[in-house]
Symmetry: D2
Subunit: 316 residues, 4 copies
């Protein structure tokens, strides 16, 4: 495991900062043009790659053909070397397997898969293991397990992750639980090339310190430079600077992921010149007070032109 | 509101016992033949109607074309006068609306709709109300709100139901929360023709006493006669007899809905000569001990031939 | 088990309506005079007895000497035949045992005992059973298990209750969980003289129908006549009348036990001429809007003189 | 805020590692001799101080006179400069205030106070703030708020902590929630001398990185040297070494605080030559398999003589 100032010797892990992509909509459909333009701009940053069809991408609101079009589009627009992870969760084993492979054909490098969670009481550890093993067995690309109990109501416990990690085609976990103890327990028990990707932007630096290989961050859709810089400062051993950036990021990250949610990410994108736009109903656009709050938070991060905030020297 | 021994004066409510239908599978597909045979047999009972594509029907595991075929099949097989309620929940407003109307075209009399629940933190009461009102506005058939927090992780509170009941196209609620206090609070606040359908077989009689109009019961897929008899005894004022049946039903009902789940319902169907079969993965068929338990519970209810149980005199 | 219209053949059960007593305070101390006056007035009703030192009695705020004085006072003031149940929960086994027997010496007929719940993760079913068995072994009076997970965070599951009921000195359960399924599961498994006392006023009638022996009700501290009448009507087979009373009671009961809480019970007592008074801090007296709501709810029940509400004919 | 390698300029904060003391029992009483011997040995380590009457100390099982004797004993045995924090939580405001001041008279430097949590529904943010302000107003020593929702069932949210921190006599928070996001949110909003003490041994280093001033750790009762070394390495900028120790500590810490609990801490103490002993019922001593697990975990940490584990060079 690498620490600050150490060289990496492992190549296959998913490392670095991945942006959790939003899905721009236009009228009743998706706005593929805006989606691709966002990616072209992300290509100029130090992002390691992109996650399409995740929670931030409103994947649960998309038809299958929309999901496929988005996956093909990110493949087409992504710069060489940027990895593409695609959300591919369904409730039935067979549906997930089929969808994983369809997205693989369209260019995904890995699939992000949540536990089935509608029949919570039936999802014992054995059933979950069988599900992930079956999906991984049939998948043309590596599987990344996605733990997000605040949305699914079903945590995947660290001891289950450790067992899943024995499957050669289960490559890692994205953990959005906010419980860093998961990270430490998992890392003690898995092979060194297993990827641990943080899903909590506010805990990114702490997670890196404890051995996370990277993060899949909603904040990285809006302020990729800051997230990449935290990662970079950490690996150059500049902990004090990294910490300052991390702490500054917290209020913005909390608004994006807890209090205001996806509409706030999309409004931040609009303010920053990306293609954001409204969410799909039943989600609603921000009201004026929410919009003002997003602007204020971006100003505090120095990400809006002319505001002269503390980080005004950041590259646009 | 009717009590035991009183005449009904309301005609449009969903009243009586509805069977929550299972979905028989055959290999990779659905077994429409078995599904229809089940309904033909149910037609001979006092069931008020059928719920297709519910939680018991493994709706979350079905492709859209399978869901449509099942809805058309139940419409075709159902005897005249049997009402058909179809589960039509999606996460996006537009998807739910479209699916409700597609199922209406295929013969559904009403649609059962859960709250969207993936983005739990964003599902404020206002957002939920807007969602249900939008769906009801565009729906060709009445909407029945479906409260099942143990699966969705998102309760629909009684005060929200009371407000939803003001919409002329929101016809009722199915409540599977197990909290009878919901019933009493809702009934105090809604119009007299609003339907309150219990989803908890163990609380069916108590719910009737407090004013429920009926139930949508998993137990009614396996032992419709017992559920119908509880309803009938209650309305004839024979509380003591109704209570005995209700209490006898509890262990079987608990196995079906809590401890053993859908595979137990399907195994009970197999034992009783219906078309049951295995669930779809990741759900698993019962192991031998589970099967023995289902047999034992059916014997205790006198529903298996030759066992001479306490209710052996029941009509087959 | 008795049903409506049947004769009781069991004598030792705790049956009927028990008032969950409040604790009137005066300055820094307890107001024993007011407390006893309340009981003298309750003596004129059909209440089966009294629960002192329960959740309604703010027992967690009382010093041991206050608790002892209240127990002695209720014993002294209670009319012959009224049973006295005293809350005696502590976290350590030895402390609970000692307190149970101290309250027994002061006149309690039975002790109400919650599970220890601070160390939730350690309170396995085995540990809970050992705790209750140890307490019951050493107790001079019968133990009634108290299940109130909304306050303790630790449900006592029906299967545990069934095992506890095998101990000859564990006489019953008070269930405030609001889950009537508990009742049905417990009653199927316990000896006929085991008492099941409902703690949810809104579910009282439904619980009686399913076999509850009675209730310990906060509402019975304010409107004992209504609670007693529900019980009486049920046992005379007058279900329709009982149901009307039950449904009318729900909004008041919900305010007392959920939305406004103990301060509302005490304010209702003040309005009705009992000794209510303020709660102990950190609980706070009702604000004006809460007081108005309590008055309005009592008027709707016809319990305030001169209001001519629907139940104005009730005895004062 | 200090980072690795920076000098501290703040003097009044509670900083460093505090051992959460256990309470040794002897027969029916407490074993003050063993308790004091433990402290004399702790005095030789780099611990910043001691927490008596905390969750680890089985405070909820102690009589008031026992609690007072333990506080006096730790004051007597503690080396000069070791700070003493005493748990002083009661449910009633008046009781907590009185107990805080009684423990202050016996030598406590600060009081650790949980939110009252029995009447959860009544404990609004306003009520909690009033409670802590009232206690702090009357307290002769500083108050440290104690957030341990897994035991209380009542989280104290970061925004509440930020408001409590405005009171000059509320000196800090001990957070055992396991949610490091709490830390970051609190630290952004409080004065620089407000103490943030981690209660989660597995997150200690990550918390220090994000600005925690120290920790109150159950693990520090058994292996104070390791906890102190993590703190020291962090402040000397030796992150890679600190991280190794932190990760090694995780399995032992998890056994002490989650899977095996207080009996495991006490058994570890016995193995290490401290005075451990059995817990008070209803807690139970470890069974043989639990004891073997504790031994194995201590051996893995190199803390048992003769085992030659990876840290065998640690001072005894």
């Amino acid at each position: 495991m690498r620490g600050p100032g150490e060289e990496s010797v492992i190549c296959d892990r998913f490392e670095g900062v991945f942006a959790a992509l939003t899905t721009p909509f236009a009228g009743e459909g998706i706005a593929l043009d805006g989606f691709k333009k966002n990616i072209l701009r992300y290509n100029t940053t130090g992002l390691a790659g992109y996650v399409v069809l995740g929670s931030t991408g409103e994947a649960v609101f998309l038809a299958d053909d929309e999901a496929e079009a988005l996956t093909a589009a990110v493949r087409e627009a992504a710069a060489p070397g940027k990895k593409i992870i695609a959300g591919a969760s369904r409730e039935a084993t067979r549906s997930t397997s089929a969808f994983v492979n369809q997205l693989a054909r369209l260019g995904a490098d890995a699939a992000l898969v949540k536990p089935p969670h509608y029949y919570k009481a039936a999802m014992t550890e054995d059933v979950l293991k069988r599900y992930f093993f079956d999906v991984a067995d049939s998948a043309a690309i590596p599987i990344i397990v996605y733990n997000i109990p605040q949305n699914t109501g079903l945590p995947v416990e660290p001891r289950v992750i450790v067992e899943l990690a024995r499957h050669p085609n289960i490559a890692g976990i994205k953990d959005s639980s906010g419980r860093l103890s998961n990270l430490v327990e998992v890392i003690k028990g898995v092979r060194p090339d297993f990827s641990f990707l943080l899903g909590s932007g506010g805990l990114f630096l702490a997670g890196l310190l404890l051995g996370a290989s990277g993060g899949i961050l909603a904040a990285a859709a809006a302020v990729p430079e800051i997230c990449v810089e935290i990662y970079s400062l950490f690996h150059r051993g500049r902990l004090v600077d990294a910490r300052k950036l991390q702490i500054d990021l917290v209020p913005f990250n909390k608004a994006l992921t807890e209090t205001l949610g996806i509409p706030a990410i999309k409004h931040a994108l609009d303010l920053l010149g990306y293609s954001g736009g409204p969410p799909r109903p039943p989600l609603r656009p921000l009201d004026e007070s929410g919009k003002a709050r997003v602007r204020e938070l971006l100003e505090a991060l120095g990400r809006l032109p002319g505001t002269g905030g503390p980080a005004a020297g950041w590259p646009a």
